[in-house]
Symmetry: D2
Subunit: 250 residues, 4 copies
């Protein structure tokens, strides 16, 4: 079987250099180009790249994707900064090259994506749901973006299912004890030296609880998700938003 020809854009960055190594180590993939700032996109065509992994920055991503789509090169995109305008522009590019696939994913950690999926699926079966996220103390925002997003997805799933409000008889509370309220879901943020990035979704019903916990110990956790994206995007024309669509969960 011939190997899939892969290029990495943003190959000198922290995640990019890790992606280079991951592609090189994969038996079914061949790294044909690793481009950094200033390198020419034409290299992708000369190298006959079939898929790019786009890990640059919001200032570069639109030009890179436009080039790839026009040249029939599929793309797995980790760069952020997507607005409605940008998405519309990408849709226009793709309409002219309907055989090309693009995956944009805010999170390539399969564990994080599964945690969100499972939390959404389980949320309507339990009376109570809360989220605890735990990070190193150098983090600037609380709760984490992932925890806020998880809580929003849970809240939406409960709304759709017509779930009752969560039971809570608290009448006397210290400020902050019951956490932040994200669409009705309490979210608690712990900041502790020695931790990296961790999240727990706690679901409780009559006589039982279900806990889904994700521990992220290294950004190498993004690699299996990026490689899975690379392998799947080549047979998935058009725009796909979110790695969960490639996990065949149901």
């Amino acid at each position: 079987m011939s190997k899939l020809r892969v290029a990495v854009l943003g190959a000198k960055g922290r995640i990019g250099s890790e992606a280079v190594r991951a592609v090189e180590a994969a038996e079914d993939l061949e790294l044909v180009a690793a481009l950094g700032r200033g390198d020419k996109l034409e290299t992708l065509v000369e190298a006959e790249a079939q898929v790019v992994v786009e890990l640059t920055n919001p200032g570069a991503v639109m030009g890179n994707l436009d080039f790839c789509v026009r040249h029939g090169i599929h793309a797995v995109v980790g760069t952020t900064g997507w607005t409605d305008d940008r998405l519309a522009q990408l849709h226009t590019s793709l309409a002219a090259s309907p055989e090309v696939g693009v995956l944009i994913a805010p999170n390539f950690s399969i564990g994080a994506v599964l945690t969100m999926q499972f939390a959404q699926q389980a949320a309507r079966f339990f009376e109570s749901v809360e989220v605890i996220e735990l990070h190193h103390p150098n983090k600037a925002d609380a709760p984490s973006g992932t925890a806020a997003r998880t809580a929003q997805l849970i809240a939406a799933a409960r709304k759709e299912a017509g779930s009752a409000p969560q039971p809570d008889a608290t009448t006397t509370a210290l400020d902050g004890a019951r956490g932040a309220d994200v669409d009705g879901i309490p979210v608690h943020s712990v900041r502790l030296r020695g931790l990296l990035a961790h999240q727990e979704v706690l679901l409780g019903g009559e006589g039982e609880t279900l806990t889904i916990r994700h521990d992220s110990l290294h950004h190498s956790s993004f690699m299996p998700g990026i490689l899975l994206g690379v392998r799947r995007v080549v047979t998935t024309p058009g725009l796909t938003m979110g790695l969960e669509n490639f996990l065949d969960l149901g």
Copy 2:
């Protein structure tokens, strides 16, 4: 909206009496009969029961279901002891009453069922999977039936996905340290005073882990699953094996 007319068979048992209370407490259900040992099945017809909750014993269940199916009464069955012969016999009954629905479920805890489903779905994305189950010290078997079943489902999912064997460099081990081997999945059984019934599925990949934990604190945890079965079985003709089929998981 008229209420669904529900009867409980085995209504004097520990789970049965709890089911009686749960049906009575549900606003959309009406308890029309609660039968114990020696009570006549004709009562079900007189009471115009639409669904029975069958919580008796292997010696009584076949006769009870035969009666119900012939009289067009749907059934949610928690009684165990199902063999291929018994299932074949039930299929024959149902063939003659194609409008009747029967749900047989080995476990009505929604948390336990979701744990198994999520573990199966996640198993192929991680290099390593192990199961830890923790119970009170009066339990006679190790591992628990639920843990063994969970491990079998995980192993089957990995086999289907073509997963590699789990990494394990152990060369020097005390007997038993690495747990029991259930189809290649290590299962560890903890027996501790103060515990009831708990199970953790640990999944690990490059730089991250995902943990799914179920804590069962009371057999009242079966009630939401039984009621969900009652509501769904009336519109699901034929035989359904396992509550997971009613959870709309994907």
Copy 3:
């Protein structure tokens, strides 16, 4: 060996009736009296009680203890409502009967007491400490009294050790995300159906974390602590505040 002669005051209450059973079940103890509301204290003398377990109410406890101390009967006290005035009054009683021992304990769960002790001992060795307490959703106060007390003890231990303030780079936070502030220790309160009473102390330092978790599943968890108090109070004259003093922790 002759058995220790034990009486229970408040024997009809939830904890009291459990204490009656626990004393009866202990091989080295003999239940000689079980008094409820309206029963005469003289029974204690006639029954030759050596120790009472005092589980009544703030309105009755002072009279009960005064009687016991005067008659040379040791006491293990779970009744709450102790003020400085009441303690002073008890000290006066005890001064006149210096051979009598009284143990007053706000919490007889050995697990809860050890959690507080260990948290205090460990607190000065870690940069970060936070407390998460998790209870059923019918609880009125947040955080729990035990969690607030635990945080205060941790804060006091860190102050005494001259610990630096906890690292926390949070600059953007939703209200409540970082929990309640109890003497500088963040405390998070989770309220979830299916839970009973649980508490986690998380301590984090360079490259490692230590977690101490207490799960309370039944008020029978008070019994081992009450029996330990009974056995020790007879050889511990004077007033002892807190079960931790009987645990020989260092």
Copy 4:
């Protein structure tokens, strides 16, 4: 206040180079020498080192300590391979220099040391104790040395307290399900990609459980313990075995 003058032996190794950085970063310590293989010990005298951190190998440690003790230099020793003969030889050296302090510690992680201490202290109060250790899958031995040591300490504490055997009604078990037996304490070893080094001690009694968990995410977790040893060894003449003796736990 003048700074304590510290030298590192084995300064090129993984832990040694980390120790060099940690000493340099500490405000109350001054790094006066960092010796690798082949460097002369006389440097320690010329640099007027007051304490050495000994992180070399079993072949070098005895000569290094003999030199230090003779020259009045205190030592904190992480090198392993201590036999009764070697300890006797060190005692002889120290007898001739009674003002010198030497700390030998098998583990400088304060979290690991506290876990063992707390487990020992708590063990006699609970009917059941089990240990779960979880590591990366490249580990060769199961259980880990730390888990085996923890179980031995727990077993010794229970024997001294006259604890009853652990309750366990298991009659039907798969091989290995109940873990390894270390002096009567079940120990379970999990090997999972994504993990580093983790250990849980679970203690269970009537109606409650206590869990002590240590997560080690980086060998930098040894540094606080090494620095604490450096500061304390200068005022603790003679040989001290184990960091726990410097933690003032009781």
